[in-house]
Amino acid sequence: MSPIISVQHLNKIYDSGFQALNDVSLDIRRGEIFALLGPNGAGKTTMISIICGIVNPSSGVITAGGHDIIRDFRAARSKIGLVPQELCTDGFESVISTVNFSRGLFGRAPNKAYIEQILRQLSLWEKRDSRIMELSGGMKRRVMIAKALSHEPEILFLDEPTAGVDVELRRDMWEMVRGLRERGVTIILTTHYIEEAEEMADRIGVISRGKLILVEEKDVLMEKLGQKQLRLQLQKPLLDLPTELKAYPLSLTQDGLELIYHFDTQGDQTGIADLFRRLDEHGIDYKDIHSKQRSLEEIFVSLVTERASAEAAE
């Protein structure tokens, strides 16, 4: 199946000379939730802005739904909805008029029934005649989503959708995003909340300093890079590891009460059984055991840090 969004060799150099994107190529599959992760200033918003037509690319080719975003911008843009990071609204307008305006702007004829459906889904129907300036931050965020959905897009960009919203609204939004995906909408989200990507994304891309350094299925990524830890709480504190055990990927906590063993779930042998035998031989007893998977956040931080170190070394 052809990708719904194809980005090929995209570069963006601002007038100041700052290179925000460096030869980025990426395919987004139809119907997936794709999370784009990266530290501040990595180029996430620039990339979204270029795909949506807000910023001009320096070079590169992008198609949305098979349409070139520059040569065939009308067809490409009509498929895209965007919820930007900032809460940008005309505070003097009513909720319903601003949503109707967005639908018209995207070339769609008025459709009262559809707009009512969107506003009801986002719990905005009761507030439809309120001026936007009278709404809370969370409700304003919902208005932004309603505007982005008003023209029935096939692709939805969510740039930091849950930044600054409370836990309840965040959960509501996650539900809404899943609902949209079930209806066939492709969703691309950027987020600082790694657990958001972990919770929702099918695939994850990591961008750092304008370069796309990784694109992977979330589950595969977690398996490939998600090292596990086995933590053993000891009956008695150890002053030091026995010499024979120092060859193992083991560490001892400062208080000497916990042993931490790192292992790779992808390996043929985890070495756990062997470790237990050695501990038994040395008379090291333990009272509790638990294992922990490395989180996506830890993977993300290590990827970005490794990249920065490699670039510094060059």
Binding site: C52, E86, G91, F106
Partner: protein, 253 residues
């Protein structure tokens, strides 16, 4: 052509006018009426006729032009500047709409508002002064073309401005003085010869002269020259907008 989008922008802008009716319509009408009371009725009654036209009637085209230029620039510049200011410009730039259609929506709405204000001022003037329109077709043509041209000029100012101060600089420090010195309240034939020559460098002279000709059949400058000058200014504004489209100046970078 994305007609739904042009209509959406046009309706949105006109809706803003009704929402701020005191500022958009009542304010220019009241201030222009005060000009009629002070310069037309009070002072004008003691002035001699100019080119066979009473002073009160003579100033009507200039006052309408003053309001028209000010309102066209203000409406169009604010219309495009405000989305830049509050960030909603992202929606315009990401919509399947060409810059030509964006201009059509904003300039169309600003022109409509200015023509409405100009028409109301003309109707209001009728309460104070007896006047006639010798060439109604040309009067309406000059009214609409001037409103559209200066709405485009306002649109360019709105794109250029990166703060409210810049939004005000051109209308207040350039356009209003040029309008006052462009023969709104006098015939340039009343000036000394040197100043008559200097005044011809003021583009507003041609607008007011042509507009006054459509009322009373008398003009400071040949009507053909005035029409040519109006078309030159229209062409310059179109060029400016074309350049903005091509480069994305202050919009897409």
């Amino acid at each position: 052509m994305n007609f739904h989008a042009v209509k959406a922008i046009y309706k949105f802008e006109l809706h803003r006018t009704w929402r701020t009716i005191m500022q958009s319509i009542a304010s220019p009408v009241i201030s222009t009426s005060l000009y009629f009371v002070v310069f037309g009725s009070a002072i004008g009654s003691r002035m001699v006729e100019i080119d066979g036209v009473s002073y009160a009637a003579f100033i009507i085209p200039g006052l309408v032009m003053l309001a028209l230029l000010t309102e066209s620039i203000a409406n169009a510049s604010f219309g495009i500047y405000f989305p830049k200011y509050n960030g909603t410009i992202y929606e315009l730039l990401s919509a399947p709409i060409s810059m030509r259609e964006i201009v059509l929506g904003y300039v169309g709405a600003a022109t409509t508002k200015s023509v409405i204000v100009g028409s109301i001022i003309l109707l209001t003037a009728n309460l104070f002064v007896d006047y006639h329109v010798a060439h109604p077709f040309w009067m309406v043509t000059f009214l609409v073309v001037t409103a559209a041209t200066f709405s485009m000029f306002g649109f360019i100012i709105g794109i250029w401005a990166d703060g409210f101060e810049k939004l005000q600089v051109v209308p207040m420090l350039i356009v209003t003085p040029l309008t006052f010195l462009g023969g709104s309240f006098y015939s340039i034939g009343m000036l000394p010869p040197l100043w008559q020559t200097i005044t011809l460098a003021n583009p507003v002279v041609y607008l007011i002269s042509a507009f006054r000709w459509s009322f009373y059949g008398v003009a400071d400058v040949n009507v053909g020259v005035s029409v040519a000058m109006i078309l030159v200014f229209l062409g310059l504004c179109l060029l400016g907008i074309y350049w903005i489209f091509r480069t994305g100046y202050r919009l897409k970078n």
